[in-house]
């Protein structure tokens, strides 16, 4: 009898090899206590959180918490059902109303996670005989949506208008087409040239879906995302987003002005065949979304902190994934897996949590220490973070390693 787990042996031995060197598992962190959007207790130690995507720091907002508590008390712990059966409460409708107001769109549908929102939208919109044209660096949830559906999948070079154009030109003009883009790409923190890409998609008669998971709250006049900042709102057919970043809870959504949009509730399997979000979650989300409409000060702070971290790391000699600060994600390029894990652990021991990212989650096989900022990070915390980065780099000999790699 063959063991179905044999196929995981290479990964199991790779991990064992890394852990045998005495480092702790970067994918098994436990937050024992969470004190604020920027501080948690890990291994019994106060740790600055610099890798949570909690961009606007809404997780502990007093109004958000109060709304959640009231809903928990009045509507119970969970809905125990699908949105299309017993799982749509007043709170789910209020949450969809908040999204419509936030985006200035006619329709909004709330999914149970951001992953499910992409899985559902991508697999349902494009069917047999249609084409999905997606950026090579698309998030796993977009790729998985492709695999769940029946469309033909065409991938274009990351952020390349020329490559997108070339691939669209080869497709039959009469075929249905969905071009999928992201405002901010979460690994490197780079943003998409949406003006060019959306223009090309429209010129070839494609519908356009933009995932704004990492742009909601602080790009564009109303904080709708990179597509708003790029001035292409009228040409984007579907915006997908999440509650688990700027909104500060969990859930996913899609907003659109398409007149037939509501039919998706009956044909989109990842919407129909799963339990809806708990009442407390949608109450928190609705309150947070409405507050994000008037969060100018937080936006400004988040950008200020992001630029400060980006500039500070560059000044200390770190190699970053983007030349300038493009989003609230700042990714430090690392030379190899071992140095990355050792540096990640050194940071943790110095009281700073960042994300370690490795292939295949990262593009082009790069290793990253990925930081994401929060509007609630204080200037003092940022000073500590920069100092710790310098210390950790010295502890693992990062700059010596980096020089060796560059010289090879």
């Amino acid at each position: 009898m063959s063991d179905l787990f044999s196929k995981f042996d290479p990964l199991i031995s790779e991990r064992a090899g890394v852990l045998a060197k005495g480092v702790r598992d970067p994918f098994a962190i436990v937050m024992q206590q969470v004190k604020s959007p920027t501080v948690a207790v890990i291994d019994g130690r106060d740790t600055i959180l610099l890798g949570t995507y909690n961009y606007m720091g809404m997780t502990f907002d007093a109004d958000v918490i109060a709304a959640g508590e009231t809903a928990l008390r009045d509507f119970g712990a969970g809905t125990t059902g699908s949105r299309v059966l017993n799982g749509t409460y007043q709170g789910h409708k209020e949450c969809e109303e908040a999204l419509k107001d936030f985006y200035g769109m006619e329709h909004a549908i709330v999914f149970s996670t951001g992953y499910l929102a992409n899985l559902g939208m991508v697999s349902t919109l494009a069917g047999k005989g249609d084409y999905i044209i997606l950026d090579a660096d698309s998030h796993a949830s977009i790729y998985d949506g492709c695999y769940l559906g029946n469309a033909d999948i065409v991938r274009f070079k990351h952020n390349s208008a020329e490559d997108l154009e070339k691939r669209l030109r080869r497709l039959p003009p009469e075929a249905g087409k969905l071009v999928i883009l992201e405002g901010v790409y979460s690994m490197l923190g780079d943003i998409a040239p949406l003006k060019e890409l959306v223009g090309i998609a429209k010129a070839h008669g494609a519908m356009v879906l933009v995932d704004e998971a990492h742009g909601m709250g602080f790009f564009g006049e109303h904080g709708r995302g990179v597509y708003e900042a790029a001035g292409v709102a009228d040409d984007v057919d579907f915006v997908v987003g999440t509650f688990s970043k700027s909104v500060g809870t969990v859930g996913g959504f899609c907003v659109s002005n398409h007149p037939k949009f509501e039919i998706l509730r009956l044909v989109c399997r990842p919407y129909t065949f799963t339990a809806s979000l708990p009442p407390a979650v949608v109450a928190c989300a609705a309150t947070s979304i409405r507050k994000l409409m008037h969060a100018g000060e937080k936006r400004q702070r988040l950008w200020e902190m992001s630029r400060k971290l980006h500039g500070g790391l560059l000044a200390r000699g770190f190699r970053l994934a983007t030349e300038t600060c493009e989003s609230a994600i700042v990714s430090v390029l690392m030379p190899d897996q071992e140095t990355t894990v050792r540096m990640w652990q050194a940071m943790l021991e110095l009281g700073v949590y960042v994300n370690m990212s490795r292939p295949p989650a990262t593009p082009a096989g790069v290793f990253l220490l990925r930081c994401s900022l929060c509007a609630e990070h204080s200037a003092a915390q940022l000073e500590i973070v920069l100092e710790r980065f310098g210390q950790a780099a010295a502890m693992v000999g990062l700059f010596e390693t980096a020089v060796e790699v560059a010289a090879e």
Binding site: Y131, A136, K166, L171, P360
Partner: protein, 81 residues
Amino acid sequence: MTDRAGIYARIIELIEPLNPKKVALAENTSFAGDLEIDSLTVMDLVASMEDEWDIVMPLNMLPDLETIGQVADAVTRLVTK
């Protein structure tokens, strides 16, 4: 070159830089098993073949294309379509 033999020869050239271990390349050489090429690299290889012959090779075809010979057959089909 758009005949099967010409396409096969060019595919071998395109794979060569992705074959640092110099595995012998033949019709039945498999991408995952023999060449140990990961899925991202395979997708990049698909893009270069699309550009080489000006064709569309949807990613959903990939599960059926395990060997170099199968890829050559698929490209030949698409080119002569």
